[in-house]
């Protein structure tokens, strides 16, 4: 790449696949690794400040109830209690829609989710909070707060909530019916539609038409570290927050909106984060900790959730009802596709129908389609983003119907998908055209993978395949870099590191400057030390913040060339830089040699970069899975799993593999075990990790990965996001494998042992 070229200009001469990289594609040890294997890394809950108090939250025992009265007097005088907080302490924000990455939120609703005002809308909804000298006293004090509720019947199922006679959650909510606001209040937040071609004509041309209905349960992100926040509200009005978040600036913006104070009054320090998967973008505890600090006389207040609070009150992602109808002709071309998706948003608007409607037919070029999506409130916790939000539910529906069609056509399921695969210039459901995408290459790689041809002997065993699509995201990122006199570079970047991105970002700076990875010392900045950076979500961090690192390299190179020219009394045009060495005529200086001369030759050298790239390029994964079903118990065992994915360019292949393997494991859990189980009054019955049942290492085999690299022309190094798409195919691939093993088609998630047995019994009514 030419020296000094601006990154925006690289698009037409993107990195060639055969380009030899020095750093990209290697597997260095992450710079924060030692702290994390020795237990020294500091996560949010590890914070201890002098005089620190401990906060706890009182939560609604009812799924739907009006708050009639609250008496906090006994709690306030309980020994050790320093502050009690109710919604009266929270300013009432104006209505204002704010984007927080992978979704937007009305500030009024978010405030009401942080602390209920007049109504509790789900079991676990925050009602009041206490700060005390230790966490046990804080919890004891909660029991002394008397709340009088008027219980209202809850509505839990998305289709029931859509009925006109259903109990209303939000009296001021009117349906946005494709841009027209309905007169009557409703639980339906919005209806979106994507449409093109002639659906009727398409179905008339079909040789095979399959129409099926699907339901999926509420599932949680399941990060191991519960939400936590520590706040210190100084008498000068300056608020500092230490917390576990995917994005410090997002926390700053949300707290500013909810507390109605300027962002300049807030400093957010992102601690190490113990997993997020989309669930740690929105705030829960941060505004409460801030107000408790204020009310307790400016003492620092730490709040941590217990895991039952995590499950009952944060995250999850939407339960859904989906109907899919697809027609294909005898050549295996899809002639028409129709989908109806109703997603439960939880108690406040914001179900990921945008993701669902774009993912459902995303991998395929389809001329005639109609997609309807509905965002619906129900009496469950407000949903948050979860890895490819809305995509997994949608792919489960579409990809099992495609399997059924390919079976009816007598066609190999991967061949069928290849005949319909989307190509450059085809359009996403919402009309956005695809650039250079690796869909066909990934499907081809799956078809020629040894796993696909391997024999699978034994009874009750089956193999399934499915594809998954995700849009990916670019977004805003900032970073700065300073050259140290020992020839290293201190890199400060704004992206929280959840899975090794300090490494993948630093590698791009090292590559750009021709330095080695260990010459870069990356760290994550707080909101006062680095420029605005969106959160680590949307598979954007290695893509966008990595791009900022590339820009830093270009900028530093130019400044250092100018310094070398100064030292040599030459014009900068006469100095060349390659692989860590400056040369001009007979003169030569390594990067390190020049770095030692910086102090004595002029001002310090540093660079800053800000980016907002928009050509992130979508991702595709194709998964192959072998299962064995126990016909006695209904338990499904995963025997072998292979995930093939286009990464554009795998910057650190180990962490790309790790993203794929982790996404697969979450997808397997969603497919087989995980679900929120409620009684009919909306009480969550399995709010513990044991009963919610994340996959353990005994549930999974090794997860084989194959990384396909079709460089993204929208990034200087061809990177495309990798984190989200691997969760999309697993439930469909597993359902297709179960069909091969048993001959039954599963239409409900999770495909738990009981549901498998029901399906077997329905197939052979004489068995039970």
């Amino acid at each position: 790449m030419a020296t000094g070229m601006h990154a925006d200009e690289v698009q037409d001469q993107a990195v060639k696949p055969e380009m030899e990289y020095q750093v990209l594609g290697t597997r260095p040890i992450r710079p924060d690794g030692t702290d994390k294997v020795t237990g020294r890394a500091l996560y949010g809950a590890d914070i201890r400040l002098p005089g620190m108090l401990y906060g706890a939250v009182l939560r609604s025992p009812h799924a739907h109830a009006r708050i009639i009265a609250m008496d906090t007097r006994r709690a306030q005088v309980f020994p050790g209690v320093r502050a009690v907080l109710t919604c009266d302490d929270l300013p009432e924000p104006e209505r204002k829609i704010e984007g927080h990455g992978e979704g937007s939120v009305d500030v009024q609703y978010q405030s009401a989710n942080v602390l209920a005002r007049d109504k509790a809308l789900y079991q676990g909804h925050a009602i009041a909070a206490v700060a005390a000298t230790n966490p046990h006293i804080a919890k004891e004090a909660l029991a002394l707060i008397k709340v009088t509720y008027e219980i209202i019947p809850p509505v839990l199922d998305v289709r029931q909530a859509m009925q006109a006679e259903a109990p209303l959650l939000l009296e001021n909510l009117h349906t946005d019916e494709m841009g027209r606001i309905d007169d009557h209040p409703s639980n339906i937040v919005s209806h979106v539609r994507h449409q093109r071609g002639d659906l009727q004509k398409g179905f008339q041309e079909a040789a095979v038409i399959v129409e099926r209905e699907f339901t999926t349960s509420t599932v949680h992100q399941g990060y191991i570290e519960p939400q936590n926040a520590t706040a210190l509200y100084n008498p000068d009005g300056q608020l500092t927050i230490w917390c576990s978040t995917q994005g410090a600036f997002g926390v700053r913006d949300q707290v500013a909106d909810i507390l109605q104070i300027p962002v300049s009054k807030i400093k957010v320090i992102p601690m190490e984060i113990g997993g997020g998967f989309g669930g740690k973008i929105g705030v829960y505890l941060e505004p409460l900790a801030a107000l408790l600090s204020l009310k307790s006389g400016h003492q620092p207040v730490k709040m941590t959730m217990s895991y039952d609070e995590v499950l009952a009150s944060t995250g999850p992602t939407s339960a859904s009802y989906i109907r899919v109808k697809i027609g294909a002709n005898s050549e295996g071309r899809i002639t028409a596709a129709e989908a109806y998706l109703a997603y439960a948003a939880g108690a406040f608007p914001g179900a990921p129908i945008w993701g669902g409607t774009n993912v459902i037919f995303g991998p395929y070029g389809i001329d005639n389609l109609l997609i309807d999506g509905y965002d619906v409130v129900v009496n469950k916790p407000k949903t948050a983003a979860y890895r490819a939000p809305g995509g997994t539910n949608a792919a489960f529906a579409c990809e099992t119907v495609l399997d059924e069609i390919s079976e009816a056509l007598g066609m190999d399921p991967l061949e069928f998908r290849l005949r319909n695969v989307a190509k450059e210039g085809d359009r996403r459901a919402d009309g956005v055209p695809y650039g250079r995408i690796g869909f066909a290459e990934t499907l081809e790689a799956a078809r020629s993978h040894p796993h696909y041809a391997a024999p699978l002997p034994g009874s009750h065993r089956g193999r399934g395949v499915a594809a998954g699509f995700w849009t990916n995201y670019g977004g805003k990122s900032s970073a700065t870099a300073s050259v140290n006199p020992d020839g290293t570079i201190s890199l400060v970047e704004g992206s929280v590191d959840i899975g090794g991105t300090r490494a993948s970002i630093a590698m791009q700076l090292a590559e750009t400057l021709g330095l080695s990875f260990t010459d870069i010392r990356p760290q994550v900045g707080d909101t006062d030390t680095v420029g605005y950076t969106e959160g680590t979500y949307g598979s954007r961090t290695t893509f966008a913040t990595g791009w900022a690192a590339y820009e830093l390299g270009i900028s530093l190179r130019q400044k250092l060339i100018e310094r070398a020219a100064d030292l040599w009394g030459l014009d900068p045009d006469q100095v060349h830089y390659e692989k860590g060495v400056f040369t001009a005529n007979e003169q030569r200086l390594t990067f390190k040699q020049l770095a030692t001369k910086l102090h004595d030759s002029g001002s310090p050298i540093m660079a800053s970069a800000t980016v907002q790239p928009g050509r992130e390029g979508p991702a595709i994964g194709v998964h192959i899975v072998d299962v064995e079903v126990d016909p006695e118990t209904g338990k499904v065992q995963i025997l072998r799993y292979t995930a093939i994915q286009d990464a554009g360019k795998a910057v650190h292949p180990s962490y790309v593999e790790g993203q794929i393997q982790g996404g697969v494991a979450q997808g397997v859990g969603w497919a087989l075990n995980e679900e929120y189980i409620y009684d009919d009054q909306g009480h969550l019955l399995n709010a513990s990790l044991l009963d919610y049942r994340l996959p353990t290492c005994l549930d999974l085999p090794m997860i084989d990965t194959l990384i396909v690299e079709v460089p993204n022309p929208g990034h200087p190094y061809g990177v495309r996001g990798v984190g989200e798409v691997p969760i999309v195919p697993p439930p469909a691939a597993i359902a297709n494998a179960i069909h091969q093993a048993l001959g039954v088609r599963m239409s409900t998630l999770p495909m738990s042992p009981a549901r498998i047995l029901e399906a077997i019994w329905a197939q052979n009514p004489s068995t039970p």
Partner: protein, 170 residues
Amino acid sequence: MAIKTLVETRLNGEAIEFLCEPRQSLLEVLREVLGLTGAKEGCNNGNCGACNVILDGVLVNSCLVLAVEVQGKNLLTIEGIGGTGGLHPLQEEFLKHAALQCGICTPGFIVSSYALLQQNPHPTEIEVRRWLAGNLCRCTGYDKIVRAVLAAASRIGNVNDMKQLISMGG
């Protein structure tokens, strides 16, 4: 204010004492009283293994042990693994294999794996998976963790076998 109890114990090889309330778990005392935050609180009910420590040679969830129970015992936490001699082979292999993403479960996995290798220096893959089924990781899908433990076992096992051969005069 609850009455506190004086507890004397050995922590990572050193004799220590602390005061705690009877209701405080070992995890709470490690983190909040002794300032050792390597043991993490995930579930606080024995489901996730992020707080695992070794008590008199036995792997336990420190959230399920009352702090007063460690009187007169020998306690090993993540802070006692590696330490002055540099990283333990398990820690090195976790890094080499990229067996951590967010890292919150990592101390628990390393403590559990350490306990495994103490009693079974040559585990098979399925033995590793059975032993570690009490530790939850949401990021990795366990693949790289299992590989890291097997690689560390092979390194430690080879060293031990060599020592044994030498002591046998082999």
